[in-house]
């Protein structure tokens, strides 16, 4: 190979591999939405969906089947709140729209804002569990010593696999920055939204 020819060939290799490296850098970031999409499709991560109330009410109720829904609550160590479900468990028929409440109380003398993040176990049941209203859709602010009952309205899809008899819905409340109170975040693709 002659000198110039070789130089050209080298330049070509550098250009192509440099592009490949850049693409892979992008791919690393692309993994973020891909991960969300993958979890949404498969319901792997226990991320629950959100639907409109009308849609939920139009479902046919499967009166023959009963599913137990358990409610759990965790408070992140940095958030000085009391947080618990008003009801530990409930038996529901798939297709029924159910409303329950969680209780939260700010134990400090200051205004504090929190964000609840849901997770459903078993993860594979997550895509059959939808909410029409949830305190986790927006950030919640509580004044000094204030307490609040926060509603949650959900529906279990009649398509839920036969072998699932109990699902556990768990919320973790995190501290959020005060200026973000009331700001809506969508849980399905939360990662993307919060970057924007």
């Amino acid at each position: 190979m002659a000198m110039d020819e070789r130089k050209q060939a080298n330049r070509r290799v550098v250009k192509r591999l440099g592009m490949a490296a850049l693409l892979m850098f992008g791919f690393g970031f692309a993994l973020v939405p891909l991960y969300d999409v993958f979890c949404e499709i498969t319901g792997l991560n226990g991320k629950t969906g959100r639907i409109e109330l009308e849609e939920a009410l139009s479902q046919t109720v499967d009166e023959d089947r009963e599913v137990t829904v358990e409610f759990l609550a965790t408070v992140h160590s940095e958030l000085p709140w009391e947080f618990r479900p008003m009801l530990r468990r409930i038996k529901v028929h798939p297709g029924e729209v159910i409303e329950v409440n969680y209780f939260a109380r700010n134990m400090t003398a200051e205004m504090v804002t929190g964000q609840a993040v849901p997770s459903l176990a078993p993860g594979l049941a997550a895509k059959y569990f939808s909410k029409t209203e949830c305190f986790c859709f927006t950030r919640q602010a509580l004044g000094p010593g204030e307490s609040k009952e926060m509603p949650l309205r959900f529906i279990v899809d009649p398509e839920l696999p036969e072998n699932v008899r109990t699902v556990s819905l768990s919320y973790t409340f995190y501290q959020a920055k005060p200026e973000e109170a009331g700001k809506e975040i969508s849980m399905g693709s939360g990662t993307l939204d919060s970057i924007m």
Binding site: F25, Q115, L124
Partner: protein, 526 residues
């Protein structure tokens, strides 16, 4: 391809003198030497950290260092050894040997080569400087899982992030250089399927580097913005997910372990045929096995995450895919064994290291298979069993191969034979102590001792003490290695061009020590 037109302007003089020679050099041999020295210094620094770890674990209870510093030591030891010692060591071998083995006058991109090296000392210094910062250095383990490395990490973590960026740049440039060299600089007649296996393994490793180092750069960039710019990639409170970090990290991390071991396979595939005085058994199957290991490395990474609550289907897939890697790896081990079969074997120092590699790396491979079985991994996860496994593949695997490569090629580099008696002392000292060091860690791991904890429960005391004693002996053996290296550079029996009776390949056709400029006229390969 025409020959004889490949010389550059300064082919009639040797190496320039003075310090600036090393700063401005574009010579592949100089740069190879710089890489090897850098790697060796990092090996000693990382080794000193390992000594602190083993001293603390000598007895149960907290006696030598405080727990946060202990965590800093385990973290920095891992980072320094992976990014400072093994990877640059392998690149150093590539720089020295690839042009000599394919009959090229130098690397394809000599100036970029200079850059790839000279980034390293700065990145290494930046990483080490975190030890002296307020709040201490990174203490979250070399895998730097979020949120430990984001929400709960010391301020020095940002320096760690930039050090990783720089190391990544260096690796990617080095990889591009190697691919360009292999594609464009081969001597006439040196077809791809005639290339020595060391060149082949590095060629494939370079593609792995280009594919995954940018993903690592992405992961640390996300950490950086999570820490400083209010994003929530890995923060559940903001809608992110800490498990996402593990996915991104191991997408890099699993190919990374093959980046460290594939060139080692190459080194051993050069040494064994020389001292068995036979051609390498199954050359083409070796090439295909290397390529399939590289491919498989991308689709098995979640076996590091069996305990994150993956669904059964995912566990099964990653389990079977992981165990599949045993097939090409076994092809390699059987080929090495078949190469030795009925060969006229002699046991000079490099051969001893190479045989130890085959034997001990395979032990590490077998424990890897055990951990690949998802239900069994629930017990092994994050215990000393894991520590024992990856030290068998990285110390008695990757590191042993670099040491073997030194004993094998040092006569070509320095012009002096290595003192066989000292080499054998170094070998037996290392191979015995390294097993005393790591083999007991299998037992304490299976018994339930977790990794990365400075204190442990009393029933682990005896094996920990034995392991520590082995550790101190192994550390001392590498100090002895400094003496062997310096003695070899200073003098010794003059080496012939062939060096070894059974040697084969282009690097043994040039005089020892290798002249500053070689193959300015491309050799003819039959």
């Amino acid at each position: 391809m025409s020959t004889a037109t490949t010389h550059d302007d300064h082919h009639d003089h040797g190496a320039p003198s003075g310090l600036m020679r090393w700063v401005t050099t574009t010579n592949h041999k100089d740069i190879g030497t710089l890489y090897l020295w850098f790697a060796f210094i990092m090996l000693l620094i990382g080794g000193a950290m390992a000594m602190v770890i083993r001293a603390e674990l000598f007895q149960p209870g907290l006696q030598v260092v405080d727990p946060n510093f202990f965590n800093t030591m385990t973290t920095m030891h891992g980072l320094i050894m992976v990014f400072g010692a093994i990877m640059p060591g392998m690149v150093g071998l590539a720089n020295w040997q690839i042009p000599l083995m394919i009959g090229a006058p130098d690397m394809a991109l000599p100036r970029m080569n200079n850059w790839s090296f000279w980034i390293l000392p700065f990145a290494g210094t930046m990483l080490l400087s975190t030890l002296f910062m307020e709040g201490g250095g990174p203490a979250f383990g070399w895998t730097f899982y979020a949120p430990l490395s984001t929400t709960f990490a010391p301020a020095s973590t940002d320096f760690f992030i930039f050090a990783i960026h720089m190391l990544g740049f260096s690796s990617i440039m080095g990889a591009i250089n190697i691919i360009a060299t292999v594609l464009n600089m081969r001597a006439p007649g040196m077809t791809l399927m005639k290339m020595p296996l060391f060149v082949w393994t590095w060629f494939i490793t370079a593609f792995l580097l280009i594919a995954v180092m940018p993903v690592l750069a992405g992961a640390v960039t996300m950490m950086l913005t999570d820490r400083n710019f209010g994003t929530s990639f890995f923060d559940a409170a903001g809608g992110g997910d800490p498990v996402l970090f593990q996915h991104v990290f191991w997408f890099f991390g699993h190919p990374e372990v093959y980046i460290m071991i594939l060139p080692a396979f190459g080194v051993v595939s050069e040494i064994i045929p020389t001292f068995a005085r036979k051609k390498l058994f199954g050359y083409s199957s070796m090439v295909y096995a290397t390529a399939s290991i590289a491919f498989l490395s991308f689709i098995v990474y979640a076996h590091h995450m069996f305990t994150t609550g993956m669904p059964v289907a995912g566990e099964l897939y990653f389990m079977y895919a992981t165990i599949m890697i045993a097939v090409p790896t076994a092809v390699k081990v059987f080929n090495w064994t078949a190469t030795m079969w009925k060969g006229s074997m002699t046991f000079e120092t490099p051969m001893l290291w190479a045989i130890a590699f085959v034997f001990l790396f395979t032990i590490g491979g077998f424990t890897g298979l055990m951990m690949g079985i998802a239900p069994a991994d629930m017990q092994y996860h994050d215990t000393y069993f894991i520590v024992a496994h990856f030290h068998y593949v990285l110390v008695t695997g990757a590191l042993f191969s670099i040491i073997a490569a030194f004993y094998y090629w040092a006569p070509k580099w320095t012009g002096h034979m290595v003192d066989e008696r000292l080499g054998k002392i170094h070998f037996w000292w290392s191979v015995i102590s390294v097993n005393v060091l790591f083999f007991p860690q299998h037992f304490i791991g299976l018994a339930g001792m977790p990794r990365r904890i400075p204190d442990y429960s009393l029933q682990f005391a005896d094996w920990n003490m034995i392991s520590s004693l082995g550790g101190f002996a192994f550390g001392l053996a590498q100090v002895f290695f400094i003496y062997v290296i310096i003695k070899t550079i200073r003098g010794g029996k003059a080496a012939t061009a062939e060096v070894w009776e059974g040697s084969h390949g282009l690097e043994w056709t040039i005089p020892s020590p290798a002249p500053y400029h070689t193959f300015e006229t491309a050799p003819e390969v039959k």
